[in-house]
């Protein structure tokens, strides 16, 4: 591929107050290639796209399209210059027809009147070019998400056919739909369209991308030809193996030891939910920390939600203390002694409007029902104890939780569940986006709880953290639980887990 790049970004720097989102990132896209942008959550992939399409301005750097320096004021300008983006969520109007969606805002007109037949004819021709034969007069909602995705792509390439950005287009598609999308991408590639592809699914990237650029923490790790980089090497580059300064500040690495085996608290058999997580078998015992490892989108959260009744499984069974149960709602799971702290702290965790006190007692109050309020004295006692134990700042029970920092909100959420005295505590990304001190405190707390006999399911994108805390590591890959690693005695290292993430046997 000796073609000169159609799009060249050099030395891109973008800062937000207090955060450097992109630092000296270079990126080049050539006509007729599919170029994957790789990196973990927060690596700067979406920032780079938003900078490119003019959603954000840049602090330093240079963007050239066909050799000419450009700065777009917004996605519309970028589109007019030939850069179209199709996002993860299809943002078309499902209630309008396929043809209307393709031509909305630029309908073919004559004397101010829309020429419907012309619009339908051109839509059908355009879709036929992608080997799609649809009834273009039917509402978009009558087609599957994959087809809707492709209609969005058809619209994008009809508007401007030079650069196409596909941001996580496959996250809600099944395997055959993905294959169909790839067919379309290969066809476009042959037509000379440059495609920027973002996906968390490594297999998909390897199936369709010619080249990839890896970002980590806002910096460029490198650009590689897909054929020259193994999946293992890629994962290593994305996650970064060396301990960061941050992590060195935390506790000494803890060697996990095995106690006398305890009885299983929860066992699942072939438990699964279509589109979320493939059927899995999992056993969690008292006093045990089970870590879930895997890349973003590998099904970590989906697995955890099934165990709490936040989503309903559509196959398989759950046993608690050996008895089969149906965890239909969170409340049912709570009655069985299960607690779940969501990764989406602000939207699914704390209630920002309510005070620290109200948030801490919320779950306990919910399980008691409205007619049996927790006496004020008991509330004060519980809240005061947990504010002290967890070091919640400010130590004021009446301040609204939305005014607390992320780390303190997380502690409030943990306190909410701890006062319900659960037997199984599921924590999804409890340390994400919080400062080092709070992070170490939360890790220490989880270890203490497990030593006290509680079972903990620990979900984290940070491999080092999972390795340090877990007795047992469950590795997820593309919505399958692919491997279980015994970490008692610290027998597992990061390489071993990354190997499982990169190449674990997908059934």
């Amino acid at each position: 591929m000796g073609d000169p790049p159609i799009l060249q970004m050099t030395g891109i720097r973008k800062t937000f107050p207090g955060v450097v989102a992109l630092d000296g990132v270079d990126f080049a896209l050539r006509p007729g290639e599919v170029h994957a942008l790789m990196g973990e959550n927060g690596a700067g992939k979406s920032t780079l796209i938003k900078v490119l399409t003019g959603v954000y301005g840049i602090d330093a750097g240079d963007i050239r399209l066909n050799g000419t320096p450009v700065r777009f004021g917004g996605p519309l300008q970028a589109q007019q210059a030939g850069i179209s983006t199709v996002y993860q969520e299809v943002n078309l109007c499902a209630n309008l027809s396929v043809a209307e969606n393709i031509f909305i805002g630029r309908e073919p007109r004559r004397f101010g009147k829309i020429r419907w037949s012309e619009m339908r004819r051109r839509s059908a021709a355009l879709l036929a070019g992608l080997d799609l034969h649809l009834d273009v007069a039917a509402p978009l909602s009558t087609y599957s998400l994959a087809i809707q995705q492709m209609v969005a792509i058809a619209r994008a390439i009809d508007i401007s056919a030079k650069v196409l950005i596909l941001d996580e287009p496959t996250s809600s598609l099944d395997a055959s739909e993905v294959e169909r999308l790839f067919e379309v991408m290969r066809r476009l590639k042959r037509d000379g369209v440059a495609i920027l592809f973002i996906s968390h699914f490594l297999d998909q990237v390897y199936a369709v991308a010619d080249r990839m650029t890896v970002l980590r923490n806002g910096t460029l790790i490198g650009e590689y030809a897909t054929a020259e980089l193994t999946q293992m090497q890629l994962v290593t580059k994305m996650i970064g193996k060396e301990l960061t300064v941050l992590e060195r500040l935390e506790e000494e690495p803890r060697t996990v030891t095995a106690d006398a085996p305890r009885e299983p608290i929860i066992e699942t058999h072939e438990l699964g939910r279509t589109g979320a997580i493939a059927p899995f078998d999992l056993t969690i015992r008292g006093g045990e920390i089970v870590g879930l490892a895997g890349l973003l989108g590998s099904g970590r959260t989906e697995l955890a939600r099934l165990l709490f009744g936040a989503d309903r499984p559509d196959e398989g069974t759950i046993k608690i203390d050996g008895n089969p149960v149906a965890l239909r709602t969170p409340r049912v799971a709570m009655n069985h002694g299960i607690a779940f702290s969501s990764e989406n702290r602000r939207t699914e965790g704390v209630v920002g409007e309510l005070s620290v006190r109200e948030n801490i007692v919320l779950a306990l109050q919910a399980s008691r029902g409205w007619s049996r309020p927790i006496p004020r004295r008991k509330q004060d006692e519980l809240v005061e104890r947990y504010i002290k134990t967890l070091g919640i700042r400010p130590a004021d029970p009446d301040v609204a939780v939305r005014n607390l920092s992320g780390g303190n909100q997380q502690k409030v959420l943990l306190a909410r569940w701890l006062i319900t005295e659960p037997r199984l505590l599921i924590v999804d990304e409890p340390t994400r986006g919080i400062d080092v001190g709070a992070k170490a405190e939360i890790q220490r707390l989880l270890v203490e709880l497990a030593d006290g006999g509680m079972a903990v399911l620990f979900v984290s994108a940070e491999l080092e953290e999972v390795l340090r805390l877990s007795h047992k590591i469950e590795v997820l890959r593309e919505r399958h639980l692919v491997e279980e690693l015994d970490n008692t005695g610290g027998g597992v290292d990061a390489d071993r887990v990354m190997q499982a993430i990169a190449s674990g046997a997908t059934p």
Partner: protein, 343 residues
């Protein structure tokens, strides 16, 4: 001092006082309260008396809005409640029978409760948007009331029934006592139990509440039931006061005044934190506004405009952004903003 000024009910209270004071220029005896035949009389008493149906409806509306919903059907429930009570009393052999009137009141309130269950089930079980779900009963309910009364105004002459809306006890209007008792009971029930905080959690964040194990369905149905019963009592007060059931006039457009009262009281329409005291204050303020338009002789055709202007001023006084803009200009004139910070 600043704590008082910053209290969310400070500005509505100021507007209420200003409204009342402005009446004195047109009616010098506005603040005079006299005792005649063991009854308190005076304009202030009138303000309170005329605020009673609205205060009740606003009380119920507060709980519904706190769950993140809205109830447009309250006016129609008022009409049904009044119509049922008057029809029942009209059929009594002795309209003066206290037992018969109590039965009529009970029947009206049970029907209101059924209306509330209907709304609650539509919203929380079937999942219809609250504004649409309650619109159904808003339209259909008034139709039912008109059907019951055959489109006629049903007059009753029942002294015991009259007591509810027009009677006096201990020199105080009975309707004011009823509202005071209902409000006090509601505050006790809602704040002493965990209802208040659970409803606030559901209204502020349905997802987080579900994951905290709160069953929102029952709470939502209860809120609509409470709103409907409050509207039912308001309907009884209204029809008792005029000794008749007028299915067209009873509670006509009261849902809008009730929503306004709730908003004036500082409860956000998006749900979550609510203030019962605020809503009652809002209802009294709206009633004072109505009476002020009469006292100062605003021509009938401009009454609505006058009301609108006061409401706009009130809303501006409550807007943090507006206050900040006004006060900043006064304190630190001509400050150029520092270098722009990207979002």
């Amino acid at each position: 001092m600043t704590a008082i000024v910053k209290h969310r009910l400070f500005w509505p209270a100021v507007v209420l006082v200003l409204l009342l004071v402005s009446n004195v220029f047109f009616a010098p005896r506005f603040f005079t309260i006299t005792l005649q035949d063991g009854h308190l009389y005076g304009s202030l008493i009138d303000v309170l008396r005329s605020a009673t149906p609205l205060a009740l409806v606003a009380l119920g509306m507060t709980m519904v809005i706190a769950t993140g919903g809205i109830d447009l059907s309250v006016g129609s429930v008022m009409a049904i409640s009044g119509a049922v009570a008057c029809l029942f009393i009209g059929d009594l052999s002795d309209q003066g029978s206290v037992g018969g009137v109590l039965l009529a009141v009970g029947l009206a309130l049970v029907l209101s409760l059924v209306a509330g269950i209907w709304n609650g089930v539509l919203v929380s079980v079937i999942g219809i948007q609250p504004i649409i779900a309650t619109l159904i009963l808003m339209v259909a309910g008034r139709g039912i009331a008109q059907l019951l009364t055959g489109g006629q105004i049903i007059n009753v002459s029942s002294p015991p029934f009259r007591v509810i809306g027009a009677g006096y006890a201990l020199a105080i209007p009975v309707s004011v006592i009823i509202v005071a008792v209902v409000v006090a009971a509601a505050v006790l029930l809602i704040r002493r139990s965990a209802l208040g905080v659970l409803v606030e959690a559901v209204g502020a964040s349905p997802t987080a509440s579900r994951l905290a194990g709160i069953r929102s369905r029952g709470l939502t149905i209860m809120a609509y039931m409470f709103a409907a019963v409050c509207a039912g009592i308001a309907g009884l007060i209204f029809s008792s006061n005029v000794a008749s059931a007028d299915s067209n006039a009873a509670g006509n457009l009261i849902e809008l005044d009730a929503i306004l009262a709730v908003v004036i009281g500082g409860t956000a329409l998006t749900g979550g934190r609510f203030s019962i005291a605020g809503s009652v204050l809002g209802a009294v303020l709206i009633s004072a506004l109505d009476i002020t338009t009469y006292t100062i002789g605003v021509p009938a055709e401009t009454t609505l405009l006058f009301k609108a202007v006061v409401v706009v001023i009130l809303c501006l006084s409550q807007s943090a952004a507006f206050r900040a803009a006004v006060f900043r200009r006064r304190r630190t004139p001509a400050v150029t903003p520092a270098a722009e910070v990207p979002a």
